[in-house]
């Protein structure tokens, strides 16, 4: 039997069993059972993806499942990348969930062990495996909607906690469905132009479709898939919804679900439509650069740990889109090797981002679990109480900061390499836009370091700022195991990224960049291990640290002893004197004042006796999402005004409503008559 088919079958069976267990099993064993079965689902999905990457191809048509069309499934190496990434994230998050959901009732609400969450969890996990395996428009749309709805319900599952959760749910529901609508229109338009709805048929018919239709389809699917991938300016739902979901679900959304936006774009744009025009990809490149800079800028001033991570997702998906856009530009300019390199960089970054973002979100979940807060200003000092979590979070932060020794370094390196070679591509727009993209990557790399030093330094190091942080404790073993799995993946990518080189070569070939270009690029990618040797640099640095440590111990006199901190002679220091996350980010916020437009409010209350004696000073600061503020508020306002204005049309008279119906039929008939 085809190993991909076997993997998918095991995944489906495990998913069905998990749903059954969630419904039928007693509360005592429910979480463990669902967690283990969903972990099996993830592992099977990962294995199926791995088999696809190893060269096995799988196609199937199940005509009984969906009416009219049936379900088409196909897994090639490109799907394999997203299948294995999604499966791996599901595996780590499910193991983690066994501990998290059992114990998440820390603030008086019913925990995650209720039936609803436990049913949704495997459904969402299964949809993440199903989307990349879909091979027809209707199958993709059904899987896509399954993913959207199950994740939406997971986001609002803690709706009793705060109004923020409800608002996040509304934002997510509206934006994900608008995205679905644009994808639906785009793909249906494409399918009707191609006169078939299977991907294989569309890919064969695509060269004959007029460029106008293809351009229109591309813009529509870019809006839909880009919004799922958190592309600015369609990212507004992401920093709201991801932080409010239960942490393992945040990990699934931020590390696996957003990737499928990229998958959709690559599948439709590069594979089905076969590249198209250069402006498509320049648009993707530009929007990707914008997302990268804007996302990390917001992350570097965010105080909420999970919001910071969500904005970092916007940044990283922006970087991936830069790679995809560059691949498209290179392909259309006739440089297949470069295109393959750029796409491979994007796919590698998808993998590494999934690894470190899973780790970071699970770490943030452990912090939330231990302290009940996500506000970095209220944390601090977790290192003493949660040493393992701190260490693992540090590994993830190193990856997100894209520094050597971190998972993100090899992929960002490869991305820069592919852009550096873009000099050969002719055309003024390319010459202008490529340096802009490189500048965006560079700026986001610098700001990412600041953002993650802030997250780690003010959240985990230093002294505890609140009693909640002071009484933190390590999470249960299952949660640590989930984080450990993600950490293993991070370490693997950081030290031996070359291992995935040949796999990426196959994935790139499957994305429509076939031929000599892909072969040559695959050769280069398998040499990745030797061209980029993080093992040597990182290993050498680590060895030196150990050597220096031993040396210092030999040179120094006597053991280390404690000494008081320098307090300027003004008495003992208190945690209130520490730098908080807000104060840490203040210089950056000031530098980017014009972009971020922060709102601060200073309220001074004087004593009634004298205006010069201050009783109380209240200071508040917020950095609203400016894109959201400027772009969405007017649109929402306009829709609301239109709604109010159209109320005059509905005055309650039945005659008038019948008149409307009659008029519509007449107009429709006239239009049809004119069109004949």
């Amino acid at each position: 039997m085809n190993p991909v088919a076997l993997g998918l079958a095991v995944a489906s069976a495990a998913g069905a069993l998990a749903v059954a267990a969630a419904l039928l099993a007693p509360a005592r064993v429910r979480v463990a059972l669902v967690g283990v079965l969903t972990a099996v689902l993830g592992a099977a999905g990962m294995a199926a993806g791995g088999a696809a990457l190893a060269g096995h191809i799988f196609t199937a048509h199940v005509s009984q499942l969906l009416p009219l069309a049936g379900v088409y499934l196909a897994v090639d190496a490109l799907s394999g990348v997203f299948l294995s990434v999604g499966g791996a994230v599901v595996l780590a998050a499910s193991v983690y969930g066994i501990g998290y959901f059992r114990h998440s009732g820390h603030n008086g609400h019913s925990g995650g062990n209720g039936r609803a969450i436990q049913v949704l969890w495997p459904v969402f996990a299964f949809s993440l495996v199903l989307v990349p395996a879909a091979a027809s428009v209707s199958t993709l749309l059904v899987a896509w909607e399954l993913m959207a709805v199950s994740s939406l319900l997971l986001v609002v599952s803690e709706h009793r906690r705060s109004a923020q959760v409800r608002s996040a749910g509304v934002w997510y529901a509206v934006m994900t469905h608008l995205g679905l609508v644009t994808i639906l229109i785009g793909l249906v338009w494409l399918a009707s132009a191609a006169r078939t709805e299977t991907f294989a048929g569309i890919a064969a018919a695509a060269p004959g479709i007029s460029p106008v239709v293809r351009g229109g389809v591309f813009v529509l699917v870019l809006a839909g898939f880009g919004s799922k991938a958190g592309m600015v300016p369609l990212h507004a739902w992401l920093p709201r919804a991801h932080p409010e979901a239960p942490s393992p679900a945040s990990a699934l959304m931020s590390a696996a679900m957003v990737n499928l936006g990229v998958y959709g774009l690559v599948r439709v744009g590069l594979d089905l439509l076969g590249g198209g025009s250069r402006w498509w990809w320049l648009l993707v490149l530009l929007l990707g650069s914008l997302s990268a800079v804007y996302g990390i800028l917001q992350a570097s001033v965010a105080n909420d740990l999970k919001r910071l991570l969500a904005y970092s997702t916007v940044e990283n998906l922006g970087l991936i889109l830069v790679g995809v856009g560059a691949a498209g530009v290179f392909k259309d300019s006739g440089f297949p090797v470069l295109a393959a390199l750029a796409l491979a960089a994007a796919l590698l970054h998808t993998m590494t981002h999934a690894a470190f973002k899973t780790l970071l979100f699970l770490g943030a979940g452990s912090v939330l679990h231990a302290t009940g807060t996500r506000d970095l200003d209220d944390l601090g000092g977790l290192r003493a109480r949660m040493p393992v979590t701190t260490g693992l979070f540090a590994l993830g932060a190193l990856g997100a900061a894209a520094l050597p020794g971190g998972a993100g370094f090899p992929s960002e390196w490869l991305l820069l390499q592919s852009l550096i070679h873009g000099l050969v591509v002719p055309g003024v727009t390319v010459v202008v836009l490529l340096p802009v993209a490189v500048g965006a990557i560079a700026l986001s790399a610098g700001l990412a370091v600041a953002a993650f030093v802030k997250a780690l330094g003010t959240g985990f190091l230093a002294k505890s700022r609140t009693p909640a942080a002071e009484h933190a404790h390590e999470p249960p073993p299952a949660m640590l195991a989930g984080m450990g799995l993600a950490a293993l993946a991070c370490a693997g990518f950081a030290l031996v990224p070359g291992l995935v080189g040949p796999l990426l070569g196959r994935a790139v070939a499957a994305a429509g960049l076939g031929g000599a270009g892909a072969d040559q690029a695959a050769g280069r990618l398998s040499a990745l291990g030797s061209t980029l040797s993080p093992l040597l640099v990182v290993g050498g640095a680590l060895l030196l640290v150990v050597l220096l440590r031993v040396l210092m111990r030999l040179v120094a006199r006597g053991p280390r002893r404690a000494a008081p901190l320098w307090d300027c002679g003004a008495g003992p220091l208190t945690p209130r004197m520490e730098y908080t996350a807000t104060s840490f980010a203040e210089p950056l916020q000031r530098v980017f004042d014009n972009v971020l437009a922060p709102e601060s409010d200073l309220d001074v209350t004087a004593y009634t006796e004298s205006a010069y004696l201050v009783e109380r000073v209240a200071y508040s600061r917020a950095v609203p999402d400016r894109v959201e503020h400027r772009l969405y508020t007017p649109v929402i306002g306009a829709v609301r005004r239109a709604g109010t204005a159209s109320r005059a049309l509905a005055n309650g008279s039945v005659h008038r409503y019948l008149g409307y119906g009659f008029a519509s039929v007449i107009v429709l008939l006239l239009v049809l008559a004119a069109a004949q």
């Binding site: 190193l398 050597p404 820069l416 550096i420 790399a445 370091v449 040797s533 220091l573 104060s583």
Partner: protein
Amino acid sequence: MTTSSVVISALQVTLVLAGAPLLTGLMRQVRARLEGRAGGGVLQPWRDVRKLLRKARLDPEGTGPAFRTAPLIGVAAAIMAAAAIPLAATGTALGSGADLIAVIGLLTLASAMLALAGLDTATAFGGMGASREMTITALAEPTILMAVFALSTRIGSTDLPAIVTAGITDGARLASPASLLAAVALAVVVLAETGRLPVDNPATHLELTMVHEAMVLEYSGPDLALVELGASMRLAVLLGLWASLFAPWGIATTAGAAAVVLGAGVFAAKLALLGAALAAGEVFTAKLRLFRVPELLAGSFLLAVLAVTASFFLN
């Protein structure tokens, strides 16, 4: 990794390790003489290191592993950079690990660790220094990457030996607009990354203006010796990198002993010259206000972008 490449890297590391404090001493001495003081002599930083190494190791209360490891990582990163960058000869031991982006990443990692150590002390000084240092790093790193990009596009590689070799064999390349713009941009960033005037004042002891010194305020004894050593090595490595990229003459392209020794001598001379010039310049420079620094860095970023654009257009 051949024997000769290991020898070259070892030589470079030894040179930087032994010479970096001397470079700092030389710069202080030049400055002292120009300001009409006697100065402590070129050997003073080494005497300081010796003095500090003899002191007891103290752990400020409440600090953890980040605080203790940061000085070690600082020195280790500088050593790795010294081993990788073609300072005296192009055939360094790390081979293709001698990647410009990787080297810059390592040095950034060291400053990020030091910022974490500053935050770990939970004092206002530590946090202040860390916050400022990270702001400067966040704005300086893009410039470095852009300058790297400008230098790499024509060679088609970020491999340092390849870039330096191209500079040696084709001298005209160094006088191209892209290269000149990148040189200015990188010079500004080297000043910022090593905490020199006008970005940070290495001699200041006024808390509110400090960046680097505030961050490392809690270090004492052997740890402080490592921090100081790491900082001066960082200066030597970054100045050496700048010299190798924009004035590569004298760097040995073969592994012959005479060429390598000559290369090492030229490298030492270049560093001394650059250091003396920098120190002389600092006498006439005032420190910028902290919130004017981003303007300076934005200016250098712009130059780097122009360098990239020039390298695209003028090809």
